[in-house]
């Protein structure tokens, strides 16, 4: 530790000072790290966006709007005013009327029209026939019937991130893909964590031949090329999210196992483990009470760095077309689509990449901060 010890004996003995575990001290150190705290806030926002975002989004992620294919990102509502006016003109011409004034107030349209003859109120049908307008009605007709005021509803939709090549809202799709990416990140990391910690701790603790055999298995698994492994799984079992977890988890636990094994071997020589042995504690008890809690610091750090790695891996697989299945999507799929449409619709690449970058940034900074907080001597 670079920090000098603060535990003056008197302070600990008099029982006045609040007890502070190593975790609490680490948290205190983490709180002083501004980048890590900002990342933590961002991450919480991402988690909320992933969990609740798809419910709150104005559109369903799978809903197709054939009229609004690849509309660029905009704060304005679609259809735009300059798209509505020509449509009104053509409808009015089809109805053989002369257009007077047009007023657009939110999602209701007010049209004044004249004719040299008396106007039949069923003229509203012309409006309803257009895809843009619905519920056209006569508001007022002059006594001679030659001028009429009509109202119609226009469905105006907001696509603040634009829509994709199939006319689906990009915002909703990004939100669902954040959910998928986080889910894969957490679940695959969880799988890797569980297998890796148990396997590594067992191998390191037992040592000798068993350790040797267990670690050679790890070496062999390392030698499998990951992409081929994933392609093989997909070819055999078809595209499936569960398969993704298996593929990613099966590869990522190897690193975890090696880290935990190394930690375990060095912990095994520590006196407190020998002390437990001298007390007659059995291997399970030593692993559970002494080894695993003490490896947790590095493991947590590695975990926060593993989540972005897994997300990136999933994005890579999805980019190759081996990942999640339509209409579900993930950040990798969105980026892949965006890359294909980069020239015409740059926003389709921009927003998903931005979301992924921010997410990865936040996770990496947090992991870094946690490492500093948990092992201050490495700084």
């Amino acid at each position: 530790m670079t920090d000098i010890a603060t535990n003056v004996p008197e302070a600990a003995a008099d029982g006045q000072m609040a007890s502070r575990s190593l975790w609490a001290t680490a948290l205190l150190r983490l709180r002083r790290n501004k980048a890590a705290m900002a990342s933590l806030c961002l991450l919480v926002i991402f988690i909320f966006a992933g969990v609740f975002g798809p419910m709150l989004a104005p559109h369903h992620y799978a809903k197709v709007y054939p009229d609004f294919v690849k509309v660029p990102a905009s704060l304005e509502a679609y259809p735009r005013e300059d798209a509505i006016i020509p449509e009104i003109e053509s409808v009015v011409t089809r109805a053989r009327l002369d257009l007077g004034s047009v007023e657009l107030d939110g999602s209701t349209l007010r049209v004044e029209a004249n004719s040299s003859r008396e106007i039949d109120p069923r003229v509203t049908r012309y409006f309803d026939r257009s895809d843009l307008f619905s519920n056209a009605r006569v508001v007022e007709q002059s006594s001679n019937g030659r001028s009429i005021v009509l109202a119609a509803d226009v469905e105006r939709l907001h696509f603040i991130f634009g829509t994709d090549a199939n006319g689906r809202d990009l915002l909703a799709r990004i939100l669902i893909s954040v959910r998928i990416s986080l889910m894969i990140g957490v679940l695959a990391t969880g799988v890797a964590l569980l297998i890796g910690v148990l396997y590594g701790a067992t191998a390191g603790f037992l040592g000798g031949r068993i350790d040797n055999a267990m670690m050679r298995v790890v070496d062999i698994l390392y030698a499998l090329p990951f992409t081929f492994f994933a392609i093989l799984l997909v070819v055999f079992f078809g595209r499936n999210i569960v398969l993704m977890f298996i593929a990613v988890g099966a590869v990522e636990w190897l690193d975890m196992a090696r880290i935990v094994r190394g930690q375990t071997i060095s912990l095994r020589r520590r006196e407190f483990v020998q002390a437990a042995e001298a007390l007659g504690v059995n291997s399970g008890g030593i692993l559970r009470r002494h080894i695993i809690p003490n490896t947790l610091g590095p493991v947590i750090v590695y975990m926060t760095l593993l989540i972005p790695k897994v997300i990136l891996l999933e994005s890579f697989l999805s980019f190759l077309g081996l990942g999640v299945q339509e209409p579900l999507t993930s950040l990798g799929v969105l980026i892949s689509e965006g890359a294909r449409n980069m020239r015409g619709a740059a926003y389709m690449l921009l927003y998903p990449s931005l979301a992924l970058t921010l997410l990865l940034f936040a996770l990496n900074f947090l992991g870094d901060g946690l490492r500093d907080a948990l092992d201050p001597k490495d700084r």
Partner: protein, 544 residues
């Protein structure tokens, strides 16, 4: 050494503070010190008194959260706040330091020649051949045997004492005015310590270098220093000539330090006391299996040791590092594979595996050397103490275990309320008390104590010794007390075994062994431990 000589190193009103999450901690609170040319000054204090931090601050080596105020002058030049480049011309050349740990102070990747000659070529501007010649000269100066060959050696090929000699050679390379030695002999055995101190004294006489010696060990100070500063809680509480301080200490703290030598002795147990642990011909061999092209390598750590421990007895096992004393302790408790025969109360427990050993574990307990390493940092004190109960008394409820922990803590002189705290909140002595509580809570009959007092300050050591005596008397415990510290063994054990390179050199009732040591080796150990001054003067006259 006279009062008229020039003051070369002057520390005035120095304050060192460390910024910590709990606010600023004042490590040094306004200290004045000075060193005159050719003088040996000792700074004495217990751990945490701030003695090392003063020197670190003066040399610009403080930890990143430390801040220093005050003034440190070397021959009139202010060192605090001096630009790094200018400071580098003074530190490492005119004012040099040697540290406690000779293992880690040398770079394992370079030969001794390279380590010594590099600063000579950089600071002194010497050519490669001139630097080599000077390096050889320096190695001769510090009496390293076979210096030509040693130039080509790597640090791991040298023993601890030799490494400390190399460190001293490096410190002397540029003819320093002042050598700051921060506990340079703490990690070494007593006989090696005597040699290193003798070397420093000789060099001082020959080269006229001043030495500022930081230590917690008063025996060294008495034999070695001209003047002493006694520090406590970041303040100098007393200063003066060595004889004055030792003969007429004025402050309570100094008196306490001087009185902290372990005292008393233990009467032997009657021959009728039942034998609890009987070991016959115990040997431990560590072997590296033969590898590709390399033959099988064997190290006999313990060879044919026989001992029998009676009820209420304390057997002290003494020896230098590498003598196999700790290995023997572990082998007796079947924590290591060993040969020979070990009988506990009539049952041969030799070669028992973990499961077979488990019922005996509660009777055969162990306390380890390092109070910082032997307590799991993620468990509370209560959990640490009661872990053994989980194994041996699985029927106990949580409440009963709490009760037992409370009682064990009271017995070792700690507040029961501390059981919800974590080990890192305690000082070394308190941690060792916790480790003792962990052993005592099982109500064992035999405790193997592996250097339980070596990492502690003398005054704390004294308290731990009193505690161990007290517990022994209360429960009729038998101890096997392993230590390199003869003073502690003398105070605590009634039977002493002296070990060297895995063999028993001498054994007998403690009184006899200490009064009339039979072997040369034991005599050397005793002299280096109890009569350092005589050893140093003998060394000096031998060299003169």
């Amino acid at each position: 050494m006279t009062d008229t000589s020039e003051t070369i190193f002057d520390i005035r009103d120095i304050r060192v503070t460390f910024a910590t999450p709990d606010g600023a901690v004042e490590a040094v609170r306004g200290v004045d010190m000075n060193v005159k040319a050719g003088e040996t000054v000792a700074v004495v204090g217990e751990s945490g008194s701030g003695k090392s931090q003063i020197m670190m601050a003066a040399m610009g080596l403080l930890a990143s959260n430390g801040r220093v105020e005050g003034s440190v002058t070397y021959r009139g030049q202010e060192l605090i706040g001096m630009p790094r480049e200018k400071l580098n011309r003074i530190r490492g050349a005119k004012v040099t330091m040697i540290f406690q740990e000779p293992m880690t102070s040398l770079d394992p990747l370079y030969t001794i020649e390279r380590q010594i000659s590099e600063p000579l070529r950089v600071h002194g501007g010497l050519s490669a051949s001139a630097a080599r010649a000077r390096a050889l000269e320096l190695l001769k100066l510090v009496h390293i045997p076979d210096p030509e060959r040693r130039l080509k050696s790597y640090p791991h090929e040298l023993s601890g004492g030799q490494r400390q000699r190399v460190m001293i050679a490096m410190a002397l390379a540029n003819d320093p005015d002042l050598l700051i030695a921060d506990e340079p002999t703490t990690a070494l055995d007593v006989t090696i310590q005597a040699e290193i101190l003798g070397l420093l004294a000789e060099l001082q006489k020959k080269l006229g270098t001043s030495i500022l010696f930081i230590t917690h060990d008063l025996t060294i100070v008495e034999a070695f220093a001209d003047r002493v500063y006694v520090m406590q809680h970041g303040n100098v509480v007393e200063e003066g000539k060595t004889e004055d301080i030792f003969q007429r200490p004025t402050r309570d703290y100094t008196k306490m330090l001087l009185a902290a030598e372990p005292e008393g002795s233990k009467p032997p147990v009657p021959d009728t006391a039942p034998i609890l642990l009987d070991a016959n011909d115990v040997s431990v061999t560590f072997s590296m299996p033969s590898g590709f092209l390399s033959p099988r390598f064997e190290l006999k750590a313990v060879q044919n040791v026989t001992l029998s421990l009676r009820e209420g007895q304390t057997i002290g096992i003494v020896g230098e590092s590498g003598s196999g004393k700790s290995t023997l302790g572990r082998a007796l408790l079947q924590l290591l594979p060993s040969e020979g025969r070990v009988v506990y109360q009539g049952t041969p427990i030799q070669g028992f595996d973990r499961a077979a050993m488990r019922p005996y574990r509660r009777n055969l307990q162990m306390v380890f050397q390092d109070p910082f390493g032997s307590l799991s940092p993620r468990m509370t004190v209560g959990d640490i103490i009661t872990e053994g109960l989980l194994v041996h008394e699985p029927q106990m409820t949580r409440r009963e275990r709490e009760e037992a922990a409370t009682q064990a803590l009271r017995e070792v002189g700690l507040e029961p309320a501390v059981r919800n705290r974590f080990p890192h909140e305690f000082s070394g002595g308190q941690r060792q008390r916790i480790a003792i509580a962990r052993a005592v809570v099982l109500k064992p009959t035999v405790i193997v104590l592996d250097e339980p007092t070596s990492a502690l300050d003398r005054s704390v050591q004294k308290q731990i010794i009193a505690l161990l005596r007290d517990i022994q008397a209360r429960y009729r415990l038998s101890y096997i007390f392993i230590s390199h510290d003869l003073a502690v063994v003398k105070a605590l054990s009634d039977y002493t075994i002296v070990m060297r390179t895995g063999r028993v050199v001498e054994e007998g009732p403690t009184g006899d062994v200490f009064r009339a040591p039979a072997s040369e080796y034991t005599r050397d150990l005793m002299e280096a431990a109890f009569n350092l001054k005589k050893v140093l003067s003998r060394q000096a006259s031998a060299r003169a």
